[in-house]
């Protein structure tokens, strides 16, 4: 039986932003469709409309010629539309089986049989009776998929499913998705990763700034053509020159451990590494493997043994972030809106968060506003932040501009070492390029970087040396030239 899903003239307007501008699309079962676009292009809004989470201002959805009224996620389920979100909606402490039956009113026994059949059919092996928190990200995703399959959906929507998966888990997922498609389930795959689109999909719809830009068959496209459609401009590729080898150690971490009281944090075990001047050390890993804890230990938000961190021949393990800044370290955390900056405060106030003694922002406990403002203007012009009003609240800056402001704030004191955590997460390609160029420039000035990132391509592009963090342990440090993304994938999954 064929499934036909039609989106007709859908518009959704938020204050100050048209998330979907008169989008019309048609899907047929038997094919895998990619919905491609940058963050903020409107693809998430569109699939949230399909799954009943958001109600569009205008437009209609048809499934096999029937006009669907999707006022809630339940309506979508009833109409055989299944969706797997980027962030899992699972109860960590309940068992897999309990999670699967939680929204079903069928008999437990018959459900169990049904689940067993599904697992056998698609070669999933998950213990149904262990709590979900013991599962890997890939397994959790399978649980979400099974939850959809129980209802034998006609349409399955996957929202950025690979962001938490290893290379190996990704290829397993792709096999399953192809199988579903062969069985007649219509698959819509949302992503901003071009490689995946080329690998998996049959047709691709590209969105940009809320508008549908093109619909085409994969065989007529290649990575460059898709990238240009997605970004709307021709991209220049940046490449890093190999760093001058120096053996001058800037920072050395010795036997660093961190044990958390919070069961949802990761313990760090026996971390050892060093970074030379002018070098970029990349730390890869799937998110949630201790990156955030490692960042905090390095920045001083978490204090450790004094001699576990040696920086510029000083032991600084027990110093606070502010004290470490005085030793010429700088930090750019992952969370721009909740940690690195305060959206409700003005730009110049956010600049004052990096309080460096010699910048004289605060004299004798008093605020020196003129000094801060002067400094802010310099950052804005030096780092291309697209505004000239430092009194603007920083919530009105785009993600890219905010990140430029943050990186600028950290770099304007010309630190010896910049530690950054997912610096380009969620940014548009223009801003990503700018940040990458900036980071390369720092290395060229013989300053060092520790780059913690979940984006393998970024790491391969910028790093001189790479290590992988898995469950709070670091792998051995490798030269970037010897590393491929496949090899990283294996290490990220925990194998040796």
């Amino acid at each position: 039986m064929n499934t036909n899903l039609k989106i007709s003239n859908v518009t959704k307007i938020y204050p100050g932003c048209v998330a979907n501008d008169n989008v019309s699309l048609e899907f047929n079962s038997g094919k895998i469709y990619a919905l491609l676009g940058e963050n903020g292009a409107g693809k998430s809004t569109l699939v949230k409309i399909l799954s009943g989470v958001i109600i569009p201002d205008e437009g209609k959805i048809y499934l096999n010629e029937n006009n669907l009224k999707l006022n809630s996620p339940l309506d979508a389920k009833k109409n055989d539309i299944g969706m797997v979100f980027q962030h899992f909606n699972l109860f960590e402490t309940l068992s897999v089986f309990e999670n699967l039956i939680i929204d079903s009113d069928e008999q437990r026994e018959s459900l169990r049989e049904k689940i067993d059949t599904i697992m056998k059919k698609y070669n999933f092996s998950i213990d149904l009776d262990i709590p979900v928190l013991n599962l890997s990200a890939g397994q959790k995703q399978k649980v979400e998929i099974i939850r959809c399959l129980i209802r034998s959906p006609k349409v399955l929507i996957m929202d950025e499913p690979t962001s938490v998966l290893t290379e190996q888990e990704t290829s397993e997922l792709f096999l399953s998705l192809k199988k579903f498609s062969e069985e007649g389930i219509l698959i819509i795959y949302i992503t901003h990763k071009l490689k995946e689109v080329m690998q998996l999909c049959d047709e691709v719809a590209v969105m940009r700034k809320g508008k549908l830009i093109s619909v085409s068959e994969i065989k007529n496209e290649n990575i460059e053509s898709l990238a240009n459609k997605m970004v709307g401009q021709n991209l220049k590729t940046i490449k890093k020159k190999k760093a001058k080898t120096s053996s001058d150690k800037l920072i050395k971490i010795t036997n660093l451990n961190f044990t958390s009281e919070d069961p949802f944090e990761t313990n760090l075990m026996d971390i050892n590494f060093s970074v030379n001047r002018g070098e970029c050390l990349g730390i890869a890993g799937i998110s949630g493997n201790g990156q955030s804890e490692l960042f905090q230990v390095l920045s001083g938000e978490i204090i450790s043994e004094k001699d576990s961190i040696e920086f510029n021949n000083n032991y600084i393990g027990d110093l606070s972030p502010q004290e470490r800044r005085e030793y010429l370290m700088a930090f750019s955390p992952e969370d721009r809106l909740e940690q690195a900056a305060i959206p409700q405060m003005k730009i110049f106030e956010n600049v004052a968060l990096n309080n460096f003694k010699s910048s004289n922002f605060f004299n004798n406990g008093l605020i020196n506003e003129n000094k801060i403002k002067e400094h802010s203007k310099k950052i804005i012009s030096d780092f291309n932040v697209n505004t000239d009003n430092i009194e603007l609240k920083s919530q009105f800056l785009s993600g890219g501009n905010l990140q430029k402001l943050i990186i600028g704030r950290e770099l304007i004191t010309s630190p010896d070492l910049l530690i950054c955590f997912n610096p380009t997460w969620g940014l548009d390609v223009g801003a990503i390029n700018y940040i990458h160029e900036t980071l390369i420039k720092i290395n060229e000035q013989n300053k060092s970087i520790i780059l913690i990132s979940t984006d393998t391509d970024e790491l391969l592009k910028l790093s001189d040396k790479i290590s992988v963090i898995h469950k709070g342990k670091l792998s051995k440090i490798m030269n970037a030239e010897e590393v491929t993304s496949e090899k990283l994938g294996i290490l990220m999954g925990g194998a040796n």
Partner: protein, 354 residues
Amino acid sequence: MIKIVKRDQPSRAIFFFTPVLAIFLTLVAGGLIFFILGFKPFEALKFFFIVPIADKYGFSELLLKATPLCLIAIGLSFCFKSNNWNIGAEGQLTFGAIVSGGVALLFYEQEGFYILPLVILAGAIGGMLYASIPAILKTYFNTNEILVSLMLVYVSKLILDYLVVGPWSNPEGFNFPETRQFSDSAKLPLLFEGLRIHAGIFLALAAVVISWFVFYKTYLGFQMKVSGFSLKTARYAGYKGKKMIILVFLISGACAGLAGVGEITGPIGQLHREISPDYGFTAIIVAFLGRLHPVGIIFASLVVAITYLGAETAQIFMQIPKYTGQVFQGMILFFLLASDYLLFFKIKFIGSKK
């Protein structure tokens, strides 16, 4: 058709307008309640809000009641601005009063210029000591400061009870639950002959000026602002979080303690069972009605002080229980929280589409 739309950003004008709107809605709702009870609404509101402050004496009473409210609310705003929820100002007031009363009783037969400063200082220290308990438990043992500070209120009231009926009760007092009268040197001077308003008002005004300066001009104020928005950011910036928690609790406790001093060394001049008609709790409403801004708090404390006076007048002239005052205080907070909705949403009137 009416449609509710989210605002792009909270409006600054609305931010200061909603307290006024809340007061207006409280008046309307209050009038309605009076009407249901069988009174003429306008007359009742006149008794409640205008008669009490129509003469010099009434105005002095208004300032007398507004003084502790303003002082405590200023202290509380240090806590609230930095994400610390001190609900126990009433307890800090009581304990401050106990300590300063204790010092005043030590000197009950003596006169001297040095006594009053000692008494005032003792009150501030008492309040600080009492506020330091939830602060230290929060910083070192991760307890919830809301619960601890609140429960300590009842502890302090029981301590006061014990002292005024037991060891500190007036030997010549026929077993009334009160202490001796303080000597004149231990009392805050009255400002005008025949009126009860006393020098404590200057303490409140000083607190307003100092707090404004700290909030908007100092590094401490900046750190409080950052911590109030995001503790994660404060930690990232390297602010000493624990130190700040303790500091704001101490400031807040000192202010509440000083308010306690004002209550016992002002017109009354002794310790007794009920030194405060819940000023410490009402000041929470004052702090938020004043938007945690020192100037806003002055106005808010005056408005809320009227409800205390109005309740008394209404009891005398209309035979309504004086607890009506608390009803009005509750309504102000309720309407303030409700109209805060307008900060983030706006109401749009659209002609029906045909």
